[in-house]
């Protein structure tokens, strides 16, 4: 028993350390049904934005996106259109840029401001400077979408994934995954397809 204890202790350390090492991988983060923690991130207008700020919101379409990824660019207009369509229904878009500007200068705060101005974003475009929100959500790529619905005092993750089935050409889209889910979520139902996958650019994490 005396010999076993140190062995067990080192085993525990090993298991724990491997767990810590594994933390940033894909399957960490939110699943549909999880409560989403609020955040406080700097918007391109310099003000801090939280989910709690908008008392009228029935939920949010949170999208991790950026200036530089070709897929994010391909979906930019579609994200603008989502806000136009769903903000009046109580689900505005909140865009979050998680990329490390030291790795991608095109995703600096100044470049974000420029992009938001040029494209007249009618929604917040927030910088996740510490990348903590992206880690917490489990975002892996841009664009990566999370629909949150207000349930009492909480926001619950109700859809994760793709916008639609054709990134290259919006005109050739056959299945609008997000809009299908939104139709149900706006009506207060659960989304029948609540989790989809999409291709995107890896989030440019800070070099640790």
């Amino acid at each position: 028993m005396k010999k076993l204890l140190p062995f067990l202790a080192s085993l525990l350390v090993l298991v724990l350390s491997s767990f810590i090492m594994l933390r940033p991988v894909a399957d960490a983060g939110y699943q549909v049904g999880d409560k989403a923690a609020d955040f406080k991130l700097k918007n391109v207008d310099g003000k801090l934005v939280s989910l709690a700020d908008n008392k009228a919101a029935k939920g949010y379409i949170v999208v991790f996106t950026c200036n530089t990824c070709p897929y994010a660019k391909a979906y930019e207009q579609r994200i603008i259109d989502l806000n136009t369509k769903y903000a009046p229904q109580g689900f505005p878009v909140v865009a979050i840029n998680p990329n490390d500007p030291a790795t991608v200068p095109g995703d600096s705060f100044a470049e974000m401001q420029k992009r938001a101005r040029e494209k007249k974003y009618a929604f917040p475009y927030l910088q996740d400077e510490t990348q903590q929100v992206a880690h917490q959500y489990g975002a892996t790529r841009t664009p990566h979408l999370y629909v949150l619905t207000r349930q009492g005092a909480d926001f619950v993750v109700s859809y994760i994934g793709a916008i639609d089935d054709n990134s290259e050409d919006a005109k050739l889209v056959k299945t609008k995954y997000l809009e299908n889910a939104m139709t149900e979520l706006v009506a207060g139902k659960t989304a029948s397809v609540s989790s989809t996958k999409a291709i995107g650019c890896t989030i440019k994490w800070k070099k640790s």
Binding site: D165, S167, K197, A198, T202
Partner: protein, 162 residues
């Protein structure tokens, strides 16, 4: 005369060899699945990349180099481009030529990642680069949704082949 013929033949051979190296096969998902399910004792190193993906472009030479390094071993490198098929001539072919890639390059011509990603590997969340190590005869499979340095890649492959 004979010498001339020989030179012509050599030139011809060289040309076909170059042309061969620069081919990019455009495939659909079932072809890729078939390719990845062969019951052979060959270790497949399958790297999913795109010309627009910075980290992919950076690590691609490490993968291509394996084709030379492991020439005499049962290792096969497949570089699967996730570029749009419409970009084949404009982006992918010039990239393959410019980098003189020696490995087999294919382009996956599918539009809906929600349908094909999980069929390639359920663990793939959809970011690039994505790498799959595979040996069907030994029922081994490992995935990496990350960028590799040359050393890391060598290390992972060696560990996988043990």
């Amino acid at each position: 005369m004979n010498k001339l013929k020989f030179i012509a033949l050599l030139a011809g051979l060289l040309l076909t060899a170059t042309a061969h190296a620069q081919q990019v096969q455009v495939i659909k998902l079932p072809e890729l699945q078939k390719r990845l399910s062969r019951p052979t004792d060959t270790t497949y190193v399958v790297n999913f990349w795109a010309t627009w993906c910075g980290p992919c472009v950076k690590e691609l030479p490490h993968f291509d180099k394996l084709t030379t390094t492991y020439k005499n071993q049962k290792v096969k490198v497949l570089l699967v481009s996730m570029d749009y098929a419409s970009q084949l001539d404009k982006k992918v072919m010039p990239f393959v030529a410019k980098n003189a890639l020696k490995s087999e390059v294919m382009l996956l011509n599918e539009t809906d990642p929600n349908l094909y990603l999980a069929k390639i590997d359920p663990k793939w969340t959809g970011s690039l680069p994505f790498t799959l190590l595979l040996n069907n005869a030994r029922h081994k499979r490992q995935t990496f949704e990350q960028e590799f340095t040359a050393e890391e890649l060598q290390k992972q492959l060696q560990a996988f082949m043990k």
